[in-house]
Symmetry: C2
Amino acid sequence: MSITFLHSDQGMLGSNWTSAIADELESIELTIRSVINSSVEVASDLSGRLLASGGKRIRPSLLTLSALACGECDRERMTYLAAATELVHMASLVHDDVIDETRERRGSATAGAQFGNKISVLGGDYLLSKAFHLLCVHGNPDILKSLSATAVVMVESEILQASGEGDLSLWESEYWRIIRGKTADFMASCCECGAMLADADVNQCQAMREYGLQLGLAFQITDDVLDIAGNSELTGKETGADLINGKFTLPVLMALRDADGDGSLRKTLSKGHISACEAEKITAIIIESGALETANSAAADCVEAAIKQLSIFPQSIYTDALKSLAEFVISRNG
Amino acid sequence: MSITFLHSDQGMLGSNWTSAIADELESIELTIRSVINSSVEVASDLSGRLLASGGKRIRPSLLTLSALACGECDRERMTYLAAATELVHMASLVHDDVIDETRERRGSATAGAQFGNKISVLGGDYLLSKAFHLLCVHGNPDILKSLSATAVVMVESEILQASGEGDLSLWESEYWRIIRGKTADFMASCCECGAMLADADVNQCQAMREYGLQLGLAFQITDDVLDIAGNSELTGKETGADLINGKFTLPVLMALRDADGDGSLRKTLSKGHISACEAEKITAIIIESGALETANSAAADCVEAAIKQLSIFPQSIYTDALKSLAEFVISRNG
């Protein structure tokens, strides 16, 4: 499956999954906007800028579509909980940017670059506290347990990733644990909580969780491929940034496995620190090796596994949208 | 009331309030230790070091004493919730240290100095996520609403404080809002949640909340006095750090009001940036002006107001301990 082909139908797939819940997404957007408002001007200002910088709102979409695919539920509650998942995601982006000292994301200056790290750390905390408050007011015990357990795993995985920068052997042994923990488990929890909100039975909750998990793995693998092969104008991130930051992702690991007969790639990566010039050379080796296709194929397998989980639900515009969303995840170019 | 006198009986007062709940404090300590354990070594290591560096465990004590002063309650739940309040406090210290670029606290290197800011931001997030999970599993809706609303106010106040560094007029208009939001409201919420846990009636919950609020104000004013007059070996913080960081606290504001006839102090403070040498001169002016006594007297008034709230509860070792704790808050030297 060529990357070019996958990119070409992003628009169509994108519109497919959002159109099923266009009204809901608008309510979620309004809710986020109203919730982040603060009498402390800097807090509102920082959050407002983050919100305006966009994003695909995948986590709120997952919660909403999963709920509606399972039946009816309290719409107001669904909107608040969906908004909370986006706030958690936004908070993690703000703290990630402080951590990675990222100066630009999605074509705009990051919070750290605009407000300084001090306000950014607190800005992330503000979004987290708002999310926590929404969850406490609108969640039920099962939903709170699921999302709060996931929050712990997310942070643990971020710590594992941060402590393992430049450490090739850690990435070789922990890649799947890291991407599952930092991305997939949260998407799984969004889907599970959607199902719980609609009072779905245990099998349905479990199937939605598995759908979200597989979709999340595919999402992160695709992110990792885009870091190497993506167009930085579309991804909003510098190409090769992961490599330079010592994050050795699936395409790198696949190239090591399949195209490093003389061990020179392993030798370069094992040094820990990768220069921009070395990153360019490594990128060429990875592309040449076919590792991007191998990684894309792994992501496609995850999407297939995700879609398979949907078979137990009655077909509806919501299950169709969940299918489109899964396909979008590996077809996006940013 | 001289500062020397207040310091001299710290030991006795300290032992008074902890002895009423010695077993409970031990259980809380063990719970925190077990909760912060993680399969990700760096997460356990960071949290373990923070825990070992000590602290007065004032927030868990407030929750525990407030609960027991109101009657019986689920002890296990009380222990978990008390542990969660300390985790929130620890998380805020870790993020504060990243924000202030503090290298040392309580005589030990801060997390930022030991692990770098990257791991410290995530370390704070880890403690917060653990606290959130404990609250979600062991809290009830009222407790969750109280603590999560307080968390929002705490962060807003920290943002207000960070955005107002060096801005004298902001501190003049917002001092009480900042110290209430960053310190007192959380202590108020700990007390209120203790009362809620013991199924206290609305009046009792309200009285405990007010007790905690007044105690928290006294606590923060005393902190602000210690920043100027304290012994850095006992406080664990560099003397005059607030001034140098552009935090203009009550002693400064009192000196401005009472001892700045020629406006020279206002002129120096209005520049925004205060050098270590200027901080020393300002400290001398403040001490000379009697502003520390005025601030101490304001703190003593808050303690009196706090203790007054206890009159509606039947006297017990727990109400006695709450009284001792309030007295300790203004008598401590670190």
